[in-house]
Amino acid sequence: MQSLESRSKLSNSEFRRDAYQLLSECYYLPDAGFANKVNDLDALSEGMYASVVKNCLKKENLDSLIIDYTKLFIGPYGLLAPPYGSIYLEENDRVMGNSTMDARRSYIEEGLDICLKDAPDHIAIELEFMYFLVFKEIEAAKSDDYDSILSYREKQRVFLKNHLGAWASDFTSKIKASAQTEFYKNLARITKNFIDNEKRNLGALI
């Protein structure tokens, strides 16, 4: 692991990029390597959540995380916090709505498409897309391509405004209300705070 000092040379964009990627990872079904992600999250949330997260790490085994994840995000008996944008942005509680297709169009415009079996507006995918946009922004910064920097910033703002940022708050409230494990309760808080911060920073407040 690199020292904190050397890592601190990361720009604001770089840690935003890494945060998006980390959060995206956290919305996959937990597996054997999940403890590492919890550690990452613990580090991410140092201060306000550190002690809580560390405690829940000790208490929670993988099975209870899997069961909690299933009830929150997969169902069938539960789906207590549907991880799909359309559920929050549209009527009738369905996936694959117009907003979903709009999210997918955003990916396609970047030369991307989803490569796993799920709806394109799944929280993990939208977080990953934001990670991608920030990554591209950093790339542009390295070559001093200011137009591209601004362009990717704008894309982030728009996507956050129309998608991720528009439903993350309702989504994370549902997690907080229903999660049985401290881990997912804290993940919800961290996600909400991070996205709220992003919305402020990018001027994507609705």
């Binding site: 692991m1 690199q2 904190l4 890592r7 601190s8 990361l10 604001n12 770089e14 935003r16 990029r17 890494d18 945060a19 980390l22 995206s24 590492n36 990452d40 580090a43 991410l44 949330s45 140092e46 201060g47 306000m48 959540y49 099975d63 899997i66 069961i67 299933t70 069938p76 008996y77 539960g78 789906l79 549907p82 799909y84 009738n92 509680d93 369905r94 996936v95 694959m96 979903t100 297709m101 997918r104 396609i108 030369g111 991307l112 498409d113 989803i114 079996k117 799920d118 799944h122 897309f129 990670y131 990554f135 591209k136 790339e139 910033r153 991070f194 709220d196 911060n197 402020r200 920073n201």
Partner: protein, 865 residues
Amino acid sequence: MTMRNETKQSGNPISEEELMNSDIKKLNRRDFIKAAAATGTAAVLAVSLTPTLKALAANNQITSPADEIGKWKPTTCQGCTSWCSKEVLVVDGRAIKVRGNANSKVNGPASCPRAHMALQQVYDPDRIKTPMKRTNPKKGRNEDPGFIPISWDEALNTVADKIMELRNNQETYKYMLMRGRYSYMRDIIYDRMTKIIGSPNNISHSAICAEAEKFGPYYTEGEWTYRQYDVLNANYILCWGADPISANRQVSYYLSAWGDASDRATIAVIDPRLSASASKADEWLPIKPGEDGALASAMAHVILVEGLWYKDFVGDFTDGINKFVAGQNVNESDFEEIYTHGLVKWWNIELKDKTPEWAAGKTGLPVDQIKRVAIGYGKAAPHAISWVGGGPVMQVRGAYASMACHALNGLVGAVDNIGGTLKANKEYTQSFPGVDDYLDDIAKEGKSHKKIDHRGRLEFPALNQKSGGGVVTNNAADGILNEDPNEIKVAIGYMNNHAFSCPQDERWFRALSKIPFVVHLTTNASEFTWFSDIVLPSTHHMFEKWGYVKVHGNGYRHVTLNQPVIDPVWDVRTDETEIPWLIAEKLADRGFDNLLRHYKSYIDPETGKEPTNGQEFALYALKHATHKLWDPEEYQAGDKFNGWEDFRSTGVWNSAPYPFKKRWGAMKTDTEKFEFYSETLKRVLGEHAEKHETTTDEVLSVCNYQARGEKAFVPHYEEPFTHGDSGDLVLVDYKSRLNREGRSANCSWYHEFKDLDPGDESWDDVAKINPIDGKKLGIENGDRIKLVSPTGELECTAKLWEGTRPGTVAKCYGQGHWVYGKVAAKEFGIIPRGGNNNSIIPADYDRLSGSTAYYGVVKVKVEKV
């Protein structure tokens, strides 16, 4: 470096002060840096030139943005047994709209309301998204299964291990396959797989559908099937409990034709509640439940006394003088029949005393209405349809009501006639390869055991063409519970939900809990799933699956394809083809390759190739089954195609037009005639009695019928048999026009538009009580009430409504799910939304057909909550 500097550097407008004042103040940059430092991938990313993507991937093929216009793609709706050919508008791989496939001569461009709800089904967030396994070893109504996701590989390995255990212990007869709705790919999983594993226990849903509806036609005209009705040429349409513009069959077609039909025909609907069709009919006959046989006998009586039978079909008295006089016997030799058999016997045994006055006392209908309808119907001969729905016949003793109501078609010569009742046109699909070469000794021995539903036993004749020829679906629960004839150790169910759709549902809760290993192939987590060990996510039949169905209406039969018209959102597989193939592969891995070898014999008729995976298998099997429809070299009749692609892109094949009167004198009965005295039933019932070394009278007694002697062989009236003597009102169960066979309760449109069913309310489940009874019972509109029967209770809302016959309570089937999804259940897994009628209907049967009784079978108490 300060945070302010940082934010300025990155062009971030937020001030430190703002940041500190927000509740995210602790989540500062330093935390992110630390987080990133702790992430292995992040460390790499710091120097990486390409993003590390997981869910997204570069897709250079997509150069243009959205395919905004979309394409109409043909497929099939199986939201009910209409089985309409449909087209789905697909934009960017997503289904947007549904319309009738105009290429179909059965349904044309028409669509019923429920077809559109398929869109809400396929994009239901509560669908099963991945294979799952149970983590709670305890099973029961109050035991949350604790399902967790597993891989397809793990799921299939587990299933294969359990089947191999049965094979290794030579107890394959303890395997069971339960089939709900199906396409005609069904035999791959239902028949072939069950036989090759080695079990007799493939149990279909048919007896909880409408087998009694087929009983009357079979034992009069030799057709164990549903009928089609030539409504546009009819002068009279008599509907027995049938609600053609709402439920029943070919609803899209009849909806589109009903206006024209009613311009020409008089329409009379016999139903204790004001159905959608009754509300648009010329006559509504709000009959007492279970008394339909009395009305049918009285109508036949009137038609004969008035001399209105159709003489070109039935024949006449040799001297031309009508000797049918109430109360008087007729000499058989005085009447010369043409295409019918036993008219005078029927009169002498059953009809001569069945006057309208007698029937009025039984049915609660006015004498003059009975006469008017009978005469009107008789005068319309031969263009007079007697349309038998499930209501009068899916009852205890319903077999004879089925015969009595259907026999009217024979009396007026409407059978196989213009403006009458027709069978299915000929079609040319072919069956899948046979299994004989793939049955080993274990399978042969296993298969020889008796079935779990007790069909063919003395008390369950299930006379689908022979003793035990039919199924007794709902009795399988008792077979499982009592381990009679043996225990069931491994069960697979697909597209079924017996724990909801079978009366006295709690028997299924216990039965499924008792089976050590249950697998459910399903789109949604239903009540059946609750008791399962492995859940396999299945494709939606209308959007994600290869298959075909065949159905008749409008004088044609069509064969319409189920097609995968969209990319499934989740990791689903097809229940009838892909999943059996995948199981077969796993069994082969374990040294038992008979099933896989069998499936590999389904070669592609176009290329001669054998399938190498489940998807190829599904497609080749379909091409094989429909080969004669699309291959010009195999052409038989009806629509002609240039090849598979031509057929596939059209989506539907239509038969030749209906050959009217072709069956007159060539019916598949023992006499080849339309039998008013059923020699066919006499033989089959006799064979059943002989099998059990007893008499037909004893069979009838054991099976709870009233007829004895010759009466058993003619259409006749039997008194209704109703449980719950101390109840207040007879339950009138019926089907919603939005039900999609009970699979639509998790669609918000179902609840939003529930008031499309006459008397019903949006977002509620109402029991409709006549205001007269409401006053007697002290029930007011909107009261929360309980309906209590000897076998259970349910809670719902009271609605005072004149459309319910006094003495009855009408409640629609379909709600009362305690699972299925967040919309369907009030509190998922715990509290149902509305009440399931099957909680209060006792498990009882029309034993001659094997049918489960749903109607007129129980009196319930009404209690305020």
